[in-house]
């Protein structure tokens, strides 16, 4: 701690202090009489520019600034799951206990409960020589997640002593030969990526439970996807659906500059909702980092780093982690707001010129990796971030820079949203660059025909698009019978396959097995219709075939017996085609 800094300027969320020689970039500081937390973001001679994590109202000229001497650190250890933090990892429940329903100023509280005791079961033994990432022991953090207590980066050696029993996060559980005592809690600077052994190729899927994504634009575990869309197009609902149903062991949700009421929904629902795979409350696999739009912008800027550090930490244990950020645009705007106070040369639309590299640095922290430590653990951090382009126009810098980095682009379309077609995914603009890499997995585990089915669906949608143009110009009468059937089937597919209500009890999530089988049934129906028309069966009798209602209700069928029912339906469709007329 170095005291002696003096405030000489306050502008928005930034403060300039003199007398700060010796401070370092990214050091944490305490600003003013209320000790508001901040971070040094620029140094010039003895002047430090500081971004302040709280509202600067009331800060006075000449008030003091103390350099803590360390960067902004995240606390990592048992107790993260189920927690709700602000952007700089202040525990919001504890803050409420201190200051009531409105967030007071200058409050702090340790991120991890100091009192709570955890049952530590050692795995390493005395005399073992350990390296960073090696597992010292295990804590059952929640009934569904075992927390591996690992040797923190930068430590290692022979274990002189290791304990078993119940400890608080600060009590040492192991002692190394060099005298280092290791508690369960470790700290890590949020702006520095946590180390791993090496990157692995993204060949496994990240299952979202949303048909349009898993079938058409699949995401790889360890990959990154962005969801750009104007207001009300469904970004948050997608993020929340992923938090509920995605195939991940741990979810870190970063509510970055968005609405308070949305967080309330998560907070109210997640402790009660269970996820189907484990039957446990969702909150047991979730960490929330919440810095709503009216909370300080500098803390908003930090929130994504706090979130990704926690995600990396669980990745290091070998888990499949999803980092869901809503919305990365609000982070970029925080960056812009701060940088404009520094009077930096602005780049495009006022964003700092380093926007693209900062964004890249963030997305780079996702990935599928081989973890440090023995036992060949493999972990992933999959990043899905919402992007909120002004006016819904994707040509703006945040969408553009994100698009260059993320290999999956789930573009949302206001026209579809207005028609209440959700998820409002624009299938023309969206893409996934992972299909080649993960289709092997899909072929082996889900459907041997996955590539062909996807192709068939895209071709159908494409054809519909062309025909719709004709209809718009000259009316439906201009179409041939075969073409009308295309419109009928593609409409069925859009309504009852691509569309998926997040609020449906039966259909909010859909396993890929079910999705591809549904698609196969729709496409075989189309083939049947085409064949019959080719054999001069009148279009009315084709449309009157009994299968339509069954196809449209497939999505509501329960998982159990689904395969049999739908395979039987497909078989009947195929047989119908073979029948003599």
């Amino acid at each position: 701690m170095t005291e002696g800094g003096i405030i000489v300027r306050v502008s928005g969320p930034t403060v300039v202090a003199k007398n700060m020689a010796g401070a370092r970039i990214h050091n944490r500081v305490l600003v003013g009489e209320d000790h508001l937390p901040g971070e040094v973001i620029r140094l010039e001679a003895d002047r430090a520019t500081i971004q302040v994590y709280e509202d600067t109202t009331g800060l006075g000229l000449g008030e003091g600034v103390t350099d803590v001497g360390k960067p902004l650190l995240a606390e990592l250890g048992p107790g993260l799951l189920g927690s709700v933090y602000d952007g700089v990892q202040r525990p919001l429940h504890a803050i409420r206990a201190k200051s009531g329903d409105f967030i007071g100023r200058g409050l702090s509280s340790p991120p991890l409960d100091r009192e709570k005791r955890w049952e530590f079961r050692p795995v390493a033994r005395e005399g073992d020589v350990v390296c960073p990432g090696d597992v010292l022991g295990v804590v059952a953090e929640t009934p569904r997640v075992d927390h591996l207590v690992m040797v923190p980066p930068g430590n290692g050696g022979a274990i002189r002593q290791i304990l078993a029993g119940s400890f608080s996060v600060l009590e040492p559980v192991a002692l190394l030969a060099d005298g280092t005592a290791l508690p369960m809690l470790q700290r890590w600077p949020v702006r520095t990526p946590r180390p791993f052994r090496r990157r692995l190729p993204p060949t496994l899927p990240f299952i979202t439970g949303q048909r349009v994504f898993d079938v058409l634009f699949p995401l790889a575990a360890g990959g990154a996807a962005i969801i750009p869309g104007g207001f009300g197009t469904g970004k948050t609902v997608v993020e929340h659906s992923l938090a509920r149903y995605a195939g991940a062991d741990v979810i870190v949700f970063v509510g970055c500059g968005e609405r308070g009421n949305e967080m309330t929904e998560v907070l109210a629902d997640f402790p009660e909702l269970t996820d189907p795979s484990s039957g446990r409350p969702l909150m047991e696999r979730t960490v929330l980092v919440v810095n709503t739009s009216n909370m300080p912008v500098a803390a908003r800027e930090a929130s994504v780093y706090t979130g990704i550090t926690i995600a990396e930490y669980y990745r290091d244990m070998g888990y499949r982690v999803a980092l869901l950020a809503d919305s990365i645009s609000r982070w970029a705007e925080a960056l812009r707001e701060i940088s404009s106070r520094l009077e930096e040369m602005p780049g495009e639309e006022g964003y700092p010129t380093h926007l693209a590299s900062r964004l890249a640095g963030f997305y780079e922290r996702g990935g599928r990796v081989s973890c440090l430590g023995g036992g060949e653990r493999e972990g992933t951090v999959t990043i899905v971030s919402a992007v909120s382009p002004p006016g819904g126009d994707f040509s703006e810098p945040v969408t553009q820079s994100s698009q260059r980095i993320a290999a999956v682009f789930w573009a949302l379309d206001p026209a579809l949203a207005h028609r209440r077609h959700f998820p409002a995914v624009d299938w023309k603009k969206s893409y996934s660059l992972y299909t080649g890499a993960i289709d092997d997995w899909f072929r082996e585990n889900v459907s041997a025909e996955c590539t062909a089915l996807r192709g068939g669906l895209m071709a159908l949608l494409q054809r519909e698009e062309e025909l719709q143009e004709v209809v718009q110009m000259v009316g439906i009468d201009a179409l041939q019978e075969q073409e009308r059937i295309v419109l009928t089937v593609s409409r069925m597919v859009r309504e009852h396959f691509l569309r998926q209500s997040a609020y449906s009890e039966t259909d909010a999530s859909c396993r890929p097995e079910k999705a591809f089988l549904m698609l196969k049934a729709f496409l075989s129906f189309h083939t049947l219709c085409r064949d019959l028309l080719a054999r001069k069966v009148p279009v009315e009798s084709v449309l009157a075939l009994p299968f339509r209602e069954e196809l449209e209700r497939m999505k509501e069928l329960p998982e159990e017996g689904f395969r049999e029912t739908v395979n039987a339906l497909i078989a009947r469709i195929v047989t119908e085609g073979g029948r003599d007329r």
């Binding site: 200051s99 308070g260 009421n261 006016g391």
Partner: protein, 462 residues
Amino acid sequence: MAGPLVFVEGVRRVTMGEMVEVLLSDGSSRRGQVIEFTDRYALVQILEQSTGIDVLSTRIRFSGAPARMPLSPDILGRRFDGAGNPIDGLPPVLPETWRDIGGTPINPVAREKPSRPIVTGISAIDGLNTLVRGQKLPIFSAAGLPAREIAAQILRQAGTGEGERGPSSPGEKFAVVFAAMGITFRQASYFLHEFEHSGAAGRTVVFQNLADDATIERLLTPRFALTAAEYLAFDRGFDVLVILTDMTNYCDALREIATAREEIPGRRSYPGYMYTDLASIYERAGCIRGKIGSVTQLPILTMPDDDITHPVPDLTGYITEGQIVLSRDLHRNGIYPPIDVLPSLSRLMNLGIGPGKTREDHRGLADQLYAFYAQGRELRRLEAIVGEEGLSESDRRFRRFADAFEREFIGQGKRGRTIEETLEEGWRLLRRLPKDQLTRIRADHVGKRYGTAAVEAGRTGE
């Protein structure tokens, strides 16, 4: 000096956001607020007319504190200017407490999930875009459209649906906070008249900054209003409806300051921090766990050139929980209120409807009306291209449904409807179409409500 800004040199003690008094050589004074300072100067934005301030003879007195508002239950029925001074000829409020008008964010974990509807008496809202207590739902208007009439009608009719209708009805702790920003005297009088007329005046707090008042003062007006609203809601247990009009004028004031500060302009020269600034207003809506009151916001804004992608509606839409969009076409066709339900949306609707809140068939009915209307509108467009003969008989029926829906369901006129009346009006329209087409409504609800004469006669209670 630069427009509404004054650079004050040689300041020794100054704090961010504090209020100052600028003393002019002619003995008058102006209020201002510190928006930035360095060890060389303090930057003050002048809230009132900045004419008359000259560089040499003006002196400044620093107050040491940010803008505060004195509060007590006596603010109900009072009228203030845009900077919180009484203008109704009555003495200042005897404060029970003082609050900083900037407010502090509600701790997200202290929020309660909104769950109770506000019945506005307007079918397009109650039926299809239900407003929920604790929600912020703006009206996107445009020049010449009757947003104010609609707002006034809502004020007249709105209630929690629990007691009688109307804010002044007995048994309801319902209050209205009205903030006028840059609207004309005529428009403001219209509202004041409405308050008097509906007997709501005693339940209303008015803050008014009119078109010829200082623009910069507008930046404080909504903050005073929301400070009053939070106090009434969370200290006094009222369900408070806050009307903010016109947010476009507010944003223009924000732009004026940004331009004077020579900040890097964002889109259409509004400042880059406008999202954050607007959020500091709109996010002050909500419910709090363990508290009975609520703050609901109904901001009104004007879309310049009817453009919904303009930064003011765009950034608003990114913060609020849906929007009610007014339509020039409907207005032109004499439909009142001219609410276009297709782009309108209440994102919290599902939390506020259903059995025990409105009625069990509400969701399905709303979805069905919406779907048929959307289909009818689409067909109307198609008809314009291919002519009426190009449509099939069934298509024509949907097209006619859309017309009837606009005329009868949307265009209810000035008379308010109960929620029962709204839902029944919806069913009445649906009966024009074949029963088997009502696929969005649960079969048992269709069975119960579609056909029988008893239902037809309006006996729709549970």
